[in-house]
């Protein structure tokens, strides 16, 4: 066993020297995740502002005008005009100049004063589903709040309370900031790509240069090569994780509410899995060009589309849900959200750690067995 680790150490030390001599690897591992995090974090925002809304005021009262003014006073909505009939407002939706139309019925002010339930109709352009959802949610919340304050300005405020009213309270991200939602996903995505790329090139480079043939003429074993390649990049990957989390915390005010050791464990397992995937690509491809392409595609697409980062897993068709079960980013994102936002520890996240450990073990095993020691 001593000789085993001795050889792993020699391989790792050689790999570290390679990295020190090659600034591109350091850039890929340390600078690229930060650059991508900043680009995505600032560039991609799911928060919608200044949504164009048109109105049909059938009441023509002080209260209806005030509702309209106060709705559009903030950053959320822009008033793009008022019409006397719903069909005119609907024409705005068709033309695309408004995303929603709010219809304020006759007797709005009277019913408000008397404390009667009022039904406002909201027409929403549903052609862009995610915007439509946000408009509905924001309009709902704003009208409810404004209705209360308008009514309380009136005489019969005390009679307003409806018998049953659901009050939702969004925890962990009450402001609904998309940075908070995006940073864990981006962290996983970026680290997945970088980790797979790091190892995908190391083995194929040795194949191309013929040094692999030289290695095979020595007593070094396949597992030793795999571990010797894995360990130095695991160290580099850990540095990248720390950097990304630090930037997430400073620049995007990401909270850190849960257990740091649990996150460290999950991150190490995730890195091992992705580095192992890169090794597998490298072992099979034997050629740097092919390895780069396979590595990028096999890490980026699943981590982006099937991890629950952009599309919730519960909404996916069954076959895709099954596939997503073997995407490591899925578990890492879940664990990141858990530790950073929900304040989770090992008790809640052990299944993520277990899934990632299984994936890592599988990758190391497969890269070792697919590693052909003989050369033609």
């Amino acid at each position: 066993m001593g000789a085993f680790w001795q050889r792993v150490w020699a391989l790792s030390a050689k790999e570290v020297r390679h990295v020190m001599r090659d600034p591109r690897t350091l850039y890929l591992a340390l600078a690229m995740p930060i650059v991508m995090l900043l680009l995505f974090g600032f560039g991609v925002s799911f928060d919608l502002e200044h949504l164009p809304v048109t109105f049909v005021d059938q009441d023509h009262s002080t209260s209806s005008r005030e509702l309209r003014q106060r709705l559009c006073a903030g950053d959320q909505f822009n008033d793009v005009g008022s019409w006397s009939t719903p069909s005119e407002a609907e024409a705005r939706l068709v033309a695309g100049s408004a995303i929603a139309a709010l219809i304020i019925p006759v007797n709005f002010e009277r019913d408000l004063r008397r404390g009667r339930p009022i039904q406002l109709q909201l027409l929403v352009d549903g052609s862009d589903n995610s915007s439509a959802l946000q408009v509905r949610a924001k309009m709902d919340a704003s009208v409810r709040a404004l209705g209360l304050s308008l009514a309380s300005g009136g005489a019969a405020a005390s009679t307003l309370t409806p018998p049953i009213e659901p009050r939702s309270w969004t925890r962990f991200n009450p402001e609904g900031r998309s940075a908070i939602y995006l940073v864990p996903g981006i962290t996983a995505l970026v680290l997945a790509i970088v980790a797979v790329l790091l190892t995908a090139l190391t083995v194929s480079r040795e194949w191309e240069r013929g040094s692999m043939a030289q290695l095979f003429a020595t007593p070094v074993g396949r597992l030793e090569i795999v571990l010797g390649k894995l360990l130095p990049y695991l160290l580099l990957g850990t540095l990248a994780v720390l950097l990304v989390l630090a930037v997430g915390s400073w620049v995007f005010n990401m909270p850190f509410r849960g257990s740091a050791p649990t996150l460290a464990l999950v991150a190490l397992l995730f890195l091992t899995g992705m580095l192992g995937q890169g090794l597998l690509v490298s072992v099979v491809a034997r050629n740097q060009m092919v390895a780069t392409q396979v590595a990028t595609l096999s890490s980026m697409l699943p981590s982006l589309l099937l991890s629950g980062f952009v599309f919730p897993i519960a909404n996916m068709p069954k076959p895709l849900q099954v596939i997503s079960a073997v995407i490591p980013a899925r578990y890492f994102i879940d664990a990141l959200r858990g530790v950073l936002l929900r304040g989770n520890g090992f008790a809640e996240l052990w299944h993520d750690a277990a899934a990632l450990a299984l994936f890592s073990a599988l990758m190391v095993l497969m890269s070792t067995t697919r590693f052909r020691r003989t050369i033609a």
Binding site: A3, Q6, R7, W9, A10, L11, A13, K14, R17, H18, R21, D22, R209, G210, S211, A213, Q214, L215, F216, A217, T218, P219, V220, R373, T374, I375, A376
Partner: protein, 316 residues
Amino acid sequence: MTEHAIQVDKLSKHFGDFIAVRDVSFHVERGEIFGYLGANGAGKSTTIRMLCGLLTPSGGHATVAGHDVASSALSVKSSIGYMSQKFSLYLELEAEHNLEFFAGIYGLYGKRLRHAIDEVVERTGLTEHKHAITSALPGGIRQRLALACSLIHKPAIVFLDEPTAGVDPASRRDFWRLIRELAGQGTTVFVTTHYMDEAEYCARIGLMVDGVLVALDTPEALKRTWVPGEALSIEGRDLHKATSAARALQGVRAAELFGARLHVRYADGVPIDRRVLTAALCSAGAQVEGMEPTEASLEDVFLAVARTSVQNQESA
């Protein structure tokens, strides 16, 4: 087990229908420089790779340093040094870091590692290049570094697969001086080359043609067996016109052009008559300016062996 450093018995390697090496048998003594010659694709590298445990033989047996290459490849690898045809060190690293890497791979560490590096660096004359980046070293020094890496663990046997390919003549001479010193200290050297002048340095030579070991002996014995008789090297003009005239002479075994010269070889025991030869050459349109006896070279041997095996194949 065996007293020989390398013992090969009916070793074969097939790649599908293609037979790269067919029933090859030989042995190499301890401390011997054994040359393995042949054209490209004759099966030299395939043989070396089987002996180093890089390829599994399709048939036959081979033991290297007492270990079976098929069943104990790992023990074989620990006791040999291998220098591959393609330069395969890490170009971005310092020369010394390459040495450290291979020392570590062969299980050296600490003081023993430093000592081994110092020794091999001195032996191969690399002291002043220790801290140079490998890619900045000239070809001849790189070859010496590659040799040093394969010697770092003091193997009993080194396999050198065309170690001097693409290296300038002066560096090749230096390299062979090293190899002879190595063998003098008891290391067995198994070397492939296609430089015939280098093959003269070998104690014994095996000649491969199309996967078959067709000749095996000392350079002198090979020359006696394959290129018997005396030969003249002729200087002159338009000698190419007279090649067939020379061949037609009685007692002449072969006439070949070597550069601007014509080599005429007589059958064993036939006395040379220079006047008859000169007359024949002149009447064929050549001008003779001088002639002198010449020794057979390994190139002659190689050509003779290759010609014979082509004839054998045609008659078979």
